[in-house]
Amino acid sequence: MSYSDVLSIFSGALTTLLLSLAGIALGLPIGLGMALIRWGRVPAVTRFVAVYVSLLRASPLVTLLLLLFYGLPDLGIEIGPISAGVLALTMNTSAFYCEIWRSALVAFPREQLEAARAVGMRRSMCFRRIVLPQIARTSLPALVNEMSQLIKVTPVLAIVGVVDITRAAVRIGADTYQPLPPFCVALAIYIPIIFALVSVQRWIERRQARLEASA
């Protein structure tokens, strides 16, 4: 395995990272939106969102990705590997984010909403100033956990032809007839990234536990 091979795995890592960031950036607000629909019991849509989230949480990312990559062109919607990958990641992760946001919303104390209403806050202002800052804090560890879960499933994107870490490693392994070194390099990239996220999550949890104990 040559120097340029290692470099190509690192450029794959950049793709992986960018796609994960796109999935997180799109999934967080979509998940929040779906959670709000369920929390506010918007008629008709609530049931649909509940079924959608349950189905997506249960289905493997590979199956979803293959469905989108082969199924959408069949319905007349052209889609490339990168956009299919981002769409699949977003759909998958937003379902998990929805459940995280929703559990924070369900646990949110009703009295605060009533108090906000009593002092004349509009619903949107109440959400921005009262609800969102608090649920963002309580669901932060779970959200970070879901981010590391998302990065852990990104190697799947390689099967539709996205040149990410995994595909770069597989290609080098096939070229050199020595698959072990490139896979080790790929793991050496993945493990620190995910470990960093896990450490951040543990740090937040510890900090929150300490704040709770002192309060």
Binding site: S59, T63, L66, P155, V198
Partner: protein, 218 residues
């Protein structure tokens, strides 16, 4: 579109055998991982011991490893070290080793959360060994850990789908086979996703039944 589902229905035997393989893989991997995880967790809970630290590090590494990359490593990487598996062997080993780490972590945490006084009371009443474990330790442990173990089993079902890349004939692989032969991607993969959903609902129902049984015994 209805026609497409008709084509999938004609090849339902392929999907059923894929589903059966997914179930076989998941159940045997879950049972083995639980067993190995339970054994490993007995080392894990000994915090002060060196072995506990080593196991802790290994589990952290496993938890930071993407499953697909791990499966690739075992199927394509290990043969160059002289360890050779067929696709079933590699898939099985990958699922079991990977999820044993998670199970050990779950069981270790549940064990540490167990109140010490009940166990001491059990000792005082003359329980010991296997009987102590079966009557005193096991029920609250299973009750506390059941939902998380259920989640982990769902994760195993979902991870088994990744094994389609090493040509293991499980559910996603069966759907791919139907789609590549008849070009009915939408119908084939939607059917597969619905079947995965059904599997997960079964696991969730099982966990809630177990929880109610344990509750009734309290």
């Amino acid at each position: 579109m209805i026609h497409d589902f008709g084509i999938v229905w004609l090849h339902v035997d392929l999907l059923v055998s894929g589903l059966a393989n997914t179930v076989i893989l998941s159940v045997s991997a879950a049972l083995s991982a639980l067993l190995i995880g339970a054994l490993v967790s007995t080392v894990l809970v000994r915090r002060a011991h060196v072995a506990g630290h080593i196991v802790r590090c290994l589990i952290d590494v496993a938890r930071c490893t993407p499953f697909l990359l791990f499966a690739y490593l075992i199927y394509y990487g290990l043969p160059s070290l002289g360890v050779r598996f067929d696709n079933w062997g590699a898939g099985m080993v990958a699922l079991i080793v990977y999820h044993s780490a998670y199970m050990a972590e779950i069981l270790g945490a549940a064990w540490l959360a167990l109140p010490r006084d009940t166990i001491e009371a059990g000792h005082a009443f003359g329980y010991s060994g296997l009987r102590l474990f079966r009557r005193i330790v096991m029920p609250p442990l299973a009750l506390n850990a059941a939902p998380i173990i259920g989640n982990q089993i769902i994760q195993i079902v979902k991870d088994s789908a990744f094994l389609t890349i090493i040509a293991l004939p499980e559910l996603t692989n069966a759907a791919s086979a139907i789609q590549s032969q008849y070009f009915v991607p939408f119908a084939a993969f939607i059917t597969a996703m619905l079947l995965y959903w059904a599997l997960c609902l079964v696991v969730e129902a099982g966990v809630s039944v177990l929880g109610r049984m344990a509750d009734a015994r309290r």
